[in-house]
Symmetry: C2
Subunit: 241 residues, 2 copies
């Protein structure tokens, strides 16, 4: 692989609906694959990207960050963005890029923010269908807010993990805010140093279903937690370095 | 047609992207057609709907209102909403309904609010692609706000009309607010007693392109106004009765 010794930090946005997830899987449409094809085509050289983390099938991003070794030193960022975007499908775009002496989107990530969006209505709302989960019945927002605070801090999140892929189930949640941007919408805005597999979606499912989140957390038993909320409501909002 | 003497007032929401507009055209996919098929199927009787107005090809709605003669008197609204929604495609939904002794969605409409959404960015943003118009260069918001006020009030809007379909080109704009819900978004929120063909989209194009909107208005000459902004940015937000 060509490498001039510098790295590219690339921010990207995508609608995950039509992809099996971020990470490359043979014979499947993935975000990573599309990004690598477009960036390689722009540089006319094979490029592999590293994402800040894998987003699951159907999960969206407005602030995913990926990195790669840069095949050239004289990259004009504006040209790069326009060029790569012209090679990407309409549901994926690169929105910013930067050249850095050294940068790894995964290992350098300090914090991530996800937003999980729901709307409450007995009827469908097509304008929110792509990136919201529909809840049919009203939700007690104050109860959600109180229970959400139980999860803030450093904890063993085994109960909120689909499958342990890393060494440790300990993570730190810096904040978990329940926002209501419109009267029918509920957003779970969660910022942490990292998240276990399906952790945000299990947290959302549990907050909506269970009354004693403290007991679920302490049990370290996935069966005590709520259902995994559907992927379509989840958006990777921001990654901090 | 069956008719028990009462009327249905139905609110609906749709993503206009895949439709040639609201109004029925033979052999084409239209919103009106899909609504009539679904409502007729629910009642097992042919139903024709009247819309508050026609939205053009590609224009969206979150608060369109349609009316029809009701084939039955004993309509259970909740059942009706669930039933009709199950017969509609995923990009159209009915969101509320009401039985009224007399109601015509077109002639009873007192005011309508449209929102035209833009975002400013040199790169594409897939999360806003469906219902925003992308502007590549920064816009002077204060200039927009000042020029927008010129159009508020009762005027001859001939310069802002693609094709005069009604008797009079006189319309009243009650308010035209320029909002910036996020740092990169510009929303034109326009409320009036009615709008000429393409009027909102020509107003948006003109406000973005021209510096002397007063002169354009007074000219009553379509050629003096700006381009028609693309349909995809426009959403019928609300109809008042």
């Amino acid at each position: 692989m060509l490498n001039c010794g510098v790295h590219l930090k690339i921010q990207c946005e995508y609608i995950g609906t039509k992809y099996v997830g971020f990470q490359t899987q043979i014979g499947q449409r993935t975000i990573q694959n599309e990004l690598e094809k477009a960036i390689s085509r722009y540089f006319a050289a094979p490029v592999k990207v590293v994402g800040s983390g894998r987003t699951d099938a159907g999960v969206h991003a407005v602030g995913q960050v990926v990195s790669c070794l840069c095949p050239r030193e004289d990259v004009k960022i504006y040209q790069f963005l326009l060029g790569v975007n012209s090679y990407l499908p309409s549901d994926i775009a690169v929105t910013a890029a930067e050249i850095l002496p050294k940068f790894n989107a995964r290992s350098d990530a300090k914090a991530k923010t996800y937003i999980y969006k729901c709307y409450v209505s007995p009827t469908r709302h097509p304008s929110m269908d792509v990136d919201h989960w529909q809840l049919y019945k009203p939700v007690d927002i104050e109860r959600l807010r109180t229970q959400a605070q139980v999860l803030v801090g450093t904890h063993d999140f085994t109960a909120f993990c689909a499958e342990l892929r890393d060494k440790s189930p300990i993570r730190t949640i810096y904040s978990l805010d329940i926002q209501t941007p419109t009267p029918h919408e509920i957003w779970f805005v969660i910022r942490g140093n990292g998240f276990l597999h399906n952790m945000v979606r299990i947290i959302v499912g549990t907050l909506l279903e269970k009354s004693d989140v403290q007991a679920v957390l302490k049990s370290r038993d996935r069966r005590r937690a709520g259902k995994t909320a559907p992927a379509k409501g989840l958006t990777l909002y921001n990654v901090e370095y």
